[in-house]
């Protein structure tokens, strides 16, 4: 996937921009608060339909106006197309997406998502809270499954409704009232868990290889999905729903007491093991960061493995100080044909073999373009 042209109007501080990036490497340098991250966010938005910073589309609308336009001319393996979006700040205003100028539902346009982002917040993924690891799965791996986003959103909505029911009625919640929510929770929740495990299995071989390269073959990685449901080695996808049902039946008294949904993908976590040791508990800070870099790169590799094309890679401030591992990671990334965008608040040195350009971002404008 290559971004041929990016067109923005009133997207955060990018008031009016029409930019044709380099097909390979784009280095975006500039002082702080000039719009570098905003630019990456716009590319991510045009290729996934979401932001990597916020769940509220309206935040992306520039303060100067009520509306915002973001569009990208994209080139895939054997087709070119244009995705654009209109955001509206009015109450009840919603985001509309267009594919080649025709309005389409979000889930029809973005499947699979076509970019991978890497921001400083990701660096805390391994030692951070479980929600950060779930967020990584949802954002990076979820895009490999056309139904994932819908299942996840439906699950979250069902859970909100179910929690409200539990809060209002507590122990008095009747079976008739709960049943319609339970049934949907089992359906969407088990779909989410099933997809996560399936996608992690797809990722694992890529992760093993990348991690081994980054650590010069000295360290080995493995991972485990930790579920709030009592999954066992032999649990089959078709058993998940029944298992979910049984777990809730057994645990309902506790749910009614606590007045919230205690079982499901929203409670699950992920554990990584480096040479058999839990990376969160025993890994050094350096190992944890190397692992995050490996996770991100392996998503790019997995994407290539699945679709024969590279996603657009967006690196926000993360390759600033190129220590040994990151240097290797960057080389690993640039070895493929992915279009890469790197931001930095200083000039990045190093030769990129003439396969890229350096731009300056200042006051919401993109300037220059030196080879």
């Amino acid at each position: 996937m290559i971004v041929r042209r990016l067109m923005l109007r009133n997207f955060r501080n990018l008031a009016d921009l029409c930019w044709s990036p380099h097909p390979f490497l784009n280095i975006l340098s500039g002082n702080n608060a000039q719009g570098k991250t905003n630019l990456l966010e716009a590319i991510f938005f045009c290729t996934t339909g979401r932001s990597f910073r916020t769940r509220r589309d309206k935040e992306m609308i520039g303060w100067a106006g009520q509306e915002c336009f973001a569009g990208a001319e994209l080139e895939g393996l054997n087709s070119s197309f244009e995705i654009s979006a209109r955001l509206n700040a009015n109450a009840g205003g919603r985001t509309t997406f267009l594919l080649n100028g025709r309005r389409q539902p979000r889930q029809k346009i973005f499947r699979p998502a076509m970019s991978v982002s890497f921001t400083p917040a990701d660096l805390e993924m391994v030692n951070g809270s479980p929600s950060e690891r779930r967020r990584w799965i949802d954002l990076d791996l979820g895009t490999f499954d056309a139904r994932y986003q819908h299942s996840l959103e439906s699950f979250e909505r069902v859970m909100t409704q179910r929690n409200n029911l539990l809060k209002n009625a507590g122990r008095q919640t009747t079976r008739e009232l709960l049943e319609p929510w339970n049934e949907q929770m089992f359906l969407y929740g088990s779909r989410v868990i099933e997809a996560r495990i399936r996608l992690l299995k797809l990722l694992l071989p890529h992760l093993r290889k990348v991690f081994s390269v980054l650590t010069s073959g000295k360290e080995e990685i493995s991972l485990k999905y930790l579920s709030s449901l009592p999954l066992e080695k032999g649990t089959k996808p078709e058993d998940l729903r029944r298992l979910y049902e049984e777990t809730v039946r057994k645990g309902f008294v506790r749910e009614a007491e606590r007045q919230q949904t205690l079982f499901g993908p929203h409670r699950d976590d992920l554990a990584f093991f480096i040479n058999g040791e839990d990376a969160r508990k025993y890994g050094s800070r350096g190992q944890q960061r190397t692992l995050v870099i490996a996770l991100k790169i392996s998503v790019v590799k997995m994407f290539f493995g699945e679709y024969g094309d590279y996603p657009v890679v967006l690196l926000d401030d993360v390759f600033l100080e190129l220590d040994r591992h990151r240097q290797k990671g960057l080389e690993e990334l640039l070895e493929g044909e992915a279009q890469v965008f790197i931001t930095s608040n200083r000039r990045l040195d190093g030769s990129f073999g003439g396969r890229g350009k350096t731009y300056t971002v200042a006051g919401g404008k993109v300037i220059g373009g030196e080879e």
């Binding site: 889930q107 069902v158 409704q161």
Partner: protein
Amino acid sequence: MNGAGPIARLVDQFARLPGIGPKTAQRLAFHILNEPPETARSLARALVEAREKVRRCSGCCDLTDGDPCAICRDPRRNREVICVVEQPRDVMAVEKSRGFRGLYHVLHGAISPMSGVGPGELTIRELMERLAKDGVREVILATNPNVEGDATALYLARLIKPSGIRVTRLAHGLPVGASLEYADEMTLSKALEGRQDLG
């Protein structure tokens, strides 16, 4: 601007309407105030008249200015099939598709604990009363294809099932997460053909 004056009151009334924020409310208010007084008068008349003349049909609970409504009165409609929808506007959407010749039942919402809407807030009691006496053989649940619409359909399916009446759900053709209102006529008549037994 005086916080309690007539302008503020007008803005406030507009802002209470669904989908209208403070800015739009202000725009509407000033629009009315810049028009000749007759515009405001006829708007007010239309509002009051509609509100006073329009009521719920004693059959299907749709909004109507005559009771029973035109559809419930129509002798050519098939009285054995009832299509259950959330809103009056959904009746219009299904009617436009011309794929359906039965009667309707309008719930006036969907079950949503977070908005304080339980089965008691909908016209479910009225529906059950109709089913108990009217010789209905099939109920099509055409609530919106989102989690609230599905929860409502599941709730109704359980409730109706013991009566032996066939319960189906609009199943195909509608894009996921779309509501009936936005469905185009083709997909809607296809959806009516592809309905599935529930339960």
